[in-house]
Structures are given as structure tokens and as C-alpha cells.
């Protein structure tokens, strides 16, 4: 029942963000444009701008939600989020480097490559050791390094415009999202989410501790490798198209845990659905709050909303 409500609410949020935008278009015209009828202008606005943007919000949110839930399950720590593996910071570094060299059209590609590099770095650092402690250590280290190098790149930015472009990019936005971004993001995110959902039953057994899980047939090393790959796919493709979107991966699983289930396996796909809805709503708010000339950035809004919600949940639960 609650699950059905969540799915419905998320679908509604995504639909709503197709119907709402800067240009006032009547709902009937929006529907018409979606079905390929109506004026050319409406067609462009709805099919080329709003639809990809809404779907991107849903995809990125779903990837971040699933990543957060899977990481919290694997580390058995509700404070984990996609950030602790450092892939977001690595993806951002790749994008920032592309911007530094003035190759803004290469940003998504550079972000993806950099996230993949981050994943390899974490795998390399972890080596044959297994378990949450070594994974978190490696991830936090890689993330911190990426953030430091990003700072260095900004430090040596060739001119103020490059610097401001980097700074704005780091705030996260879907305003420029188009069909090409969607094409890049959709497959990778879907694959990542599928890998994480696949791990669900193993994460459920791992609530008994890593040792006990191993005696129950869970291959911790394989689980860990799939987790790294799945999170890297979700976060990497998300950052590639949207920039840094904070706190969604951390607080969405809490929202689901609080309202529907604490089961680590169901939590993953439910967090994907909730993440899609939450980010679509957040992007809707961004559209509403951005006036002409002053754009509100999505990543700023998600952090601003996410932190208090997270703190509220944390206080209420303890």
C-alpha cells in the first residue's frame, strides 16, 4: 500500500515537472506535444527540453537513492552515502578538468572516465582485503584526493570565466540536460541500479555481520566489487549530466526506512523510486524559484533541503 503510494507519488512528481516550466503551456497542449501533435514550439519545449530534463532528474535521483541505500546496507551505517566512496568527487574532478581546458562539450565524458578511474583506484587500494572498514577508508581517501586536486585546478584557473563556469557546474543543475545526456545517462544508471538491486539479498544476510554472512554463502569480495561498480555507474553518470547533487543519496534511504521498510534489500529499489521522485520535485522547485537571470542551482537546493530533513530523521530515530 505504502509502496504503491510511493510509486504513484514519484510518477506524479516526474509528470508534474513535464507540465510545469518557465513557458506557460496549457496541460492539454503539453499532452498534445507529448503525443507529437500541436505547434512546433510546444513540441520543442516539451519533447526536447522538459521531457529529457524530467527523465534525467528521475534517473539521477534513482541512481543516487539506490547507491545510498546499498552503501548504507553494506557498511551497516546509516550515515553512509554515495559520497563516501569518492566517485562523485572523482567525476567532478574530471568535469572540472574538462572545463579548465575549455572543452565543455567533453564534460560528461570526462566525468564518466574520471569516475571509472576512481572506481579502479578504490578497487586497487582495497586490494584483496574485504569489508566495510577498508572500503570506507579507500573511498574517503580517493574522494579527499579528488577534492584537493579539484581545488588545485580551480586555483590555477586560466581566467575568471573558467573559474565561474567550474564553480557553477559544481553546484549541480539539470537546466542544460538534453536528449543526448539522457542517452548517456540512462543505460549506465539502469545497469548500476540493477547491479545494486541484485545485491539486496546479500546485504540482508550481511546484517548478521560479515563473518556470519560468509558462512551463509555470501561472497563478500564479489559483493564489494559489484557495489563499487554499481555505485560508480550511478554516481558517475549522474554527475556527468547533472553535476554535484548533494545529500539525495544520504537522506532518501532514510525517508524510505522511516516510512516504508528497514529491510536492506527492499530499501534499494524503493530508494531508487523515492530518489527519482524527490529529485524531480527538487528540480521542479528549482524551476519555480529561478527567476529571469537568477538561476537557483539544483545541488544547492538538495543540500539545503536534505540536511535539515536528514538531521530531523537522525534526531527522531535516536
Amino acid at each position: 500500500m505504502k509502496t504503491a503510494f510511493l510509486i504513484l507519488a514519484s510518477l506524479l512528481a516526474v509528470a508534474l515537472s513535464i507540465f510545469v516550466g518557465t513557458a506557460a503551456i496549457a496541460p492539454s497542449d503539453v499532452l498534445g506535444a507529448l503525443l507529437g501533435r500541436g505547434t512546433e514550439t510546444h513540441g520543442i519545449i516539451i519533447r526536447d527540453i522538459r521531457l529529457p530534463r524530467a527523465l534525467l532528474a528521475a534517473l539521477v535521483g534513482a541512481g543516487l537513492g539506490a547507491s545510498g541505500a546499498a552503501l548504507q546496507g553494506f557498511t551497516r551505517n546509516p550515515l553512509s552515502g554515495p559520497g563516501i566512496l569518492g566517485f562523485g568527487a572523482m567525476a567532478a574532478l574530471g568535469a572540472v578538468l574538462a572545463l579548465y581546458f575549455g572543452a565543455s562539450q567533453l564534460v560528461p565524458f570526462a566525468a564518466l572516465v574520471s569516475a571509472a578511474l576512481g572506481a579502479m583506484l578504490v578497487i586497487g587500494l582495497v586490494g584483496r582485503r574485504q569489508g566495510r572498514d577498508v572500503l570506507v577508508l579507500a573511498g574517503v581517501g580517493v574522494g579527499a584526493l579528488a577534492t584537493a586536486v579539484t581545488g588545485l585546478v580551480m586555483n590555477f584557473a586560466p581566467n575568471p570565466w573558467a573559474l565561474s563556469e567550474i564553480a557553477y557546474w559544481l553546484m549541480g543543475s539539470l537546466a542544460q540536460g538534453d536528449a543526448a545526456d539522457l542517452g548517456l545517462c540512462a543505460g549506465l544508471t539502469a545497469l548500476g541500479i540493477a547491479m545494486l538491486i541484485y545485491l539486496g539479498p546479500d546485504l540482508r544476510v550481511m546484517t548478521l555481520g560479515e563473518d556470519t554472512a560468509r558462512t551463509l554463502g555470501v561472497n563478500i569480495g564479489l559483493t564489494q566489487a559489484m557495489l563499487i561498480a554499481g555505485v560508480a555507474l550511478c554516481v558517475g553518470s549522474g554527475v556527468a549530466v547533472a553535476g554535484a547533487i548533494g545529500f539525495i543519496g544520504l537522506f532518501v534511504p532514510h525517508l524510505v526506512r522511516f516510512s516504508i521498510t528497514t529491510d536492506p534489500a527492499r530499501l534499494i529499489w524503493l530508494s531508487a523510486i523515492a530518489g527519482a521522485g524527490v529529485l524531480a520535485l527538487a528540480d521542479l522547485a528549482v524551476k519555480g524559484l529561478s527567476g529571469a537571470g537568477t538561476q537557483l542551482y539544483l545541488g544547492i537546493l538538495t543540500s539545503l533541503i536534505g540536511v535539515p530533513v536528514f538531521l530531523w530523521l537522525a534526531v527522531k530515530r535516536t
Binding site: 544476510v205 555481520g209 556470519t212 551463509l216
Partner: protein, 234 residues
């Protein structure tokens, strides 16, 4: 069922040779750091070992400090014991449901089957952990300090349950309480500094081994465990 031929593991056990051939209750005793936990973990396949170790059938392992997700219901925790036999989407098989029901019956946890584990007392949680291990339906049960953190009555209760299980399964339990070990075990293995010092019936706890390993003597009149009062409340 288990054959260990001169097995060693780093920082734990050295040249341990042991043979387990039939269902019985085996008590591993020895001071802290003597290698009991390492030996259990080695048999459970959790540690790399040197030497030849053959474990014939599926094992169930009960860690010294069982972990749970506090919000998970008792039944769900016990069902995790069936993980080795379940597909990713599969429901419990008929045999699985029977094993879970039997495990919950034998540990008296059915009364709070739907409660979150986190709301239970320490003694109740110990029974849930045992039920989870029993649900594996393995013919070898490895138990690390099952009575740690339990009061005297609860400890007695757990040992009685393990004793019952040992009629059909090989139960190897690391036990600190020498009285419980002497009273319940069919076979006692004394360990010290990673080696097996004595291996035999409970009588090994009566002799000089004790003085040598622990620096203590059995109490006058021998090891005794508390009696059950007429009205029991665990």
C-alpha cells in the same frame, strides 16, 4: 566430519591435529587468547590456514557477539539461516519453512516471532541467534562463547539446548565456564597458546592440565552446575 591435520593460522593456532567423526557436544576450553575462536573460525572457513583441513558437510557458525539489524523481526532473522539454499527472489522451500519452524520451536522464540530483535533482552537475543544458526540445518554447529554476557540461568538454558542439538549434530562450542563445560560436554579439548594441550572426556578438567593451563584447581567435590528451581524463568 572434520579432520584437521597439523593446521596453523597466523596469530592463533599452531599444528593443531583433531578429528571429529560423530555428533556430540565438544567443549573448547582454554584461557583468553589460547586459540579457541581462531580454531572455530578456521573450521568455519573464515581464515586461511596452513596444513590440511577437511570439513565434510555444511557448517553453521554462531559468532561470539551476534549482530542483528535491530529493526528486523525475529522470524526474518531466523529465516536468514536459510540463505545458502535460497535463490535471490525465491521464497522459502517447504524444507526451509520446516527448518525455521523447528529452530524457533527448539529455542522458544515463537512467542516473540514478530517483534524487532532490538526490543528483546540479551538472553532472548542469544536464543534468536541460536535459532538463526539452527535454521541452517547443518550437521556441524560451531559456537563461539554462547554463554558470554548471559546470566547463570540463561547460560544453563543455552547449554541444555546445545546438548539437545548434539544428539543429531556435531556441536563444537568454545566455553569459558568450566563447570558448564565439564557438565555438558561429551568431549573436552583444552587449548593453550594455540596448541591442543588435552583432548578427551570431561575428566581432563579434573587433573593437572587445569593447573598447568589456567593455574587453578577444580573446586572440592568436582565441577557442579546450578540446579534448576522448580519454577523456571529464563
Amino acid at each position: 566430519m572434520i579432520r584437521a591435520d597439523k593446521i596453523s593460522a597466523t596469530y592463533g593456532i599452531r599444528d593443531v591435529t583433531l578429528d571429529f567423526t560423530r555428533p556430540q557436544l565438544v567443549a573448547l576450553v582454554g584461557p583468553n587468547g589460547s586459540g579457541k575462536t581462531t580454531l572455530l573460525r578456521a573450521i568455519a572457513g573464515l581464515l586461511p590456514v596452513e596444513g590440511k583441513l577437511t570439513v565434510g558437510t555444511r557448517i553453521a557458525y554462531l559468532a561470539q557477539k551476534p549482530e542483528f539489524q535491530p529493526t528486523m523481526s525475529v522470524r526474518d532473522v531466523v529465516e536468514l539461516g536459510r540463505a545458502p539454499y535460497r535463490g535471490r527472489l525465491g521464497k522459502l522451500s517447504k524444507a526451509g519453512e520446516e527448518a525455521v519452524a523447528r529452530a524457533m520451536l527448539n529455542t522458544d522464540v515463537r512467542g516473540f516471532a514478530d517483534r524487532p530483535v532490538g526490543t528483546l533482552s540479551g538472553g532472548q537475543q542469544a536464543r534468536v541467534a541460536l535459532a538463526r544458526a539452527l535454521a541452517v540445518d547443518a550437521s556441524i554447529l560451531l559456537v563461539d562463547e554462547p554463554t558470554a554476557n548471559l546470566d547463570a540461568a540463561q547460560a544453563l538454558d543455552v547449554l541444555e539446548r546445545l546438548k539437545r542439538e548434539s544428539e543429531t549434530a556435531l556441536v563444537i562450542a568454545a566455553i569459558h565456564d568450566l563447570a558448564l563445560a565439564a557438565h555438558f560436554a561429551d568431549r573436552v579439548i583444552v587449548m593453550d597458546e594455540g596448541r591442543v594441550i588435552a583432548d578427551g572426556s570431561a575428566e581432563v578438567l579434573d587433573g593437572g592440565v587445569l593447573a598447568e593451563v589456567f593455574g587453578i584447581m577444580p573446586p572440592p567435590g568436582g565441577w557442579r552446575v546450578p540446579e534448576r528451581a522448580a519454577k523456571r524463568g529464563v
